[in-house]
């Protein structure tokens, strides 16, 4: 029976779009799971979803305005909202989670209204919306350029994370202490907000909003069930994200299920597994 599966997989791997989907899915999962650790520990897990919806709204505006390259509008708008959410701090009158909720739903609604009032020429509105939100076709219809883009993006994120690892830890654990010891926390918070917004905007086009929010959150949460040190959590999160993405894509290919949702299902399965492992570990250690 395994022979049959291997044969089917080899057949599928001969299709270029399958190879692209695997590469991009894994790389985006890697970047997202690293960033996700920071988000989850800052109690901002829902921000991935919120920003992805903001990006969707920005994309609607860009399409309506017939901008040649959507990213010219999507990226700045998403970065702006990201900075507002992550760096608002005491000056923002509305609490973090309420702000995210409003932005998220508002952007989605306005975006959808715009798409309906000004449908893109020759476009399929529900297809657009479905593709951007659920991403089942976007990850399977990638061009070679997009593969290179995702390679560059993840290399950038991983590099930044490794280089600034100690500062990221200090900032996430105790931003106030870090500021007291002289770190320019304002600047670093902005930098983190920019990186997260960039990853979400680009990844939304590659894998859809549903998937990117899951990729940000599940690996970090699962790693935290079992591991105790920040370094272990980060490494485990990265590995988890990559393995879940790989498993999800392969299963969806074989079973014909939508790619994004299957990856999320793999994430859920992994999370349950890790929760169990954490409980058992706790019991053994008494």
């Amino acid at each position: 029976m395994t022979g049959g599966i291997i044969e089917t997989l080899t057949m599928y791997l001969s299709y270029p779009f399958v190879r692209y989907a695997l590469i991009v899915g894994v790389l985006v999962a890697l970047s997202a799971s690293l960033l996700g650790v920071v988000l989850v520990l800052r109690r901002l897990s829902y921000i991935g979803d919120g920003l992805a919806h903001v990006a969707f709204g920005a994309m609607a505006i860009a399409t309506v305005m017939n901008v040649t390259n959507n990213m010219l509008l999507v990226l700045p708008i998403t970065i702006l909202f990201s900075i507002l959410l992550l760096h608002g701090g005491r000056r923002v009158k509305i609490q973090g989670d309420a702000a995210i909720a409003m932005m998220s739903v508002g952007a989605l609604a306005i975006g959808y209204i715009l798409f309906n009032l000004f449908p893109p020429k020759g476009g399929n509105v529900s297809g657009d919306v479905c593709t951007t939100l659920f991403g089942s076709t976007s990850i399977l219809t990638l061009s070679r350029q997009e593969v290179w883009l995702s390679i560059g993006l993840s290399a950038g994120v991983v590099l930044l994370f490794v280089l600034f690892y100690n500062r990221v830890f200090a900032l996430t654990f105790d931003g106030e202490f870090a500021a007291a010891t002289g770190m320019n926390t304002g600047l670093y918070n902005i930098a983190i907000a920019v990186v997260i917004a960039t990853v979400i905007s680009l990844a939304m086009n590659l894998v859809g909003s549903l998937l990117i929010s899951a990729l940000l959150v599940f690996p970090a949460l699962s790693a935290m069930r079992v591991y105790k040190s920040f370094r272990a959590v980060v490494i485990c999160s990265a590995v988890f994200g990559v393995v879940a993405a790989l498993a999800g894509i392969l299963v969806s290919i074989l079973a014909g299920t939508p790619v994004g949702a299957t990856i999320v299902a793999a994430d859920i399965a992994g999370f349950l597994l890790f929760t169990l492992a954490g409980l058992m570990k706790g019991r053994i250690q008494g």
């Binding site: 390259n69 951007t132 076709t137 350029q145």
Partner: protein, 224 residues
């Protein structure tokens, strides 16, 4: 500031990434509705999956005109399989060979959709290869007003997006030979890139058309 250098690098990296995202539009426009239209339809089905694809398909082998707003004129051969042919319809029965290079009928619908998308956006590598497709049949009227263009359309799983490709049934088949629109058809043929009066488009050349499930003809009774 101590970290100014790093922040400048970060800003540059972000700007660079913006530029990299350039050619392809959102995937939203990548999944167009392949409605039946006139001559522009075959080119449109290949072109609509994103502006990048449009550039690629239309400008490869294209001759620029003086007016920058005109679509570039394609000056490739009428048929890439048989470059000596005078007109793209002049090709006789094709030899599909024993091997099917791309069997889309075995794939799940989303996968078949994705593969068809690849074939329409990067068609050069598929010319002359044997393709088997299963999908819904549609036709559209030509200049005479009669159904003259025939397509097979593939939907993704949720039927939220669709993609179609024109097919050419060798031999002079009258319209009565073709099934009702929306019938499920299956065909095995050769992938080809054709040129019709400066318009470039992709087709599958088939010898046999296999109707898997005939659709009901449209009802003629008026609405109550």
């Amino acid at each position: 500031m101590r970290h100014t250098k790093i922040m400048v690098l970060l800003a540059a990296a972000v700007l660079l990434l913006t530029a990299c995202g350039a050619p392809k539009d959102s995937p939203a426009t990548a999944a167009p509705q392949q409605t039946v239209e006139a001559t522009a339809a075959p080119a449109a089905s290949a072109a609509a999956p994103g502006t990048a694809a449009l550039e690629q398909i239309v400008t490869t082998g294209a001759v620029a005109t003086d007016n920058p707003f005109d679509k570039p004129v394609y000056d490739g051969p009428p048929s890439m399989i048989n470059p000596e042919a005078a007109h793209y319809l002049d090709i006789g029965p094709v030899d599909t060979g024993a091997v099917i290079h791309w069997d889309l009928s075995r794939l799940s619908s989303t996968m078949a959709y994705a593969q068809l998308y690849t074939m329409l956006t990067e068609p050069e590598q598929f010319v002359g290869q044997t393709v088997k497709v299963r999908g819904q049949y549609y036709n559209s009227p030509d200049a005479s007003g009669q159904p003259g263009y025939h397509f097979v359309i593939v939907f993704d799983n949720a039927a939220c997006c669709e993609l179609g490709i024109e097919f050419l049934w060798t031999g002079n088949h009258p319209i009565a030979d073709y099934p009702q629109p929306m019938s499920i058809v299956e065909m095995t043929g050769l992938f080809d890139i054709c040129n019709d009066g400066g318009e470039r488009f992709c087709v599958i050349r088939v010898n046999d058309l296999n109707v898997v499930q005939e659709a009901e003809p449209p009802s003629l009774t008026p609405m109550p």
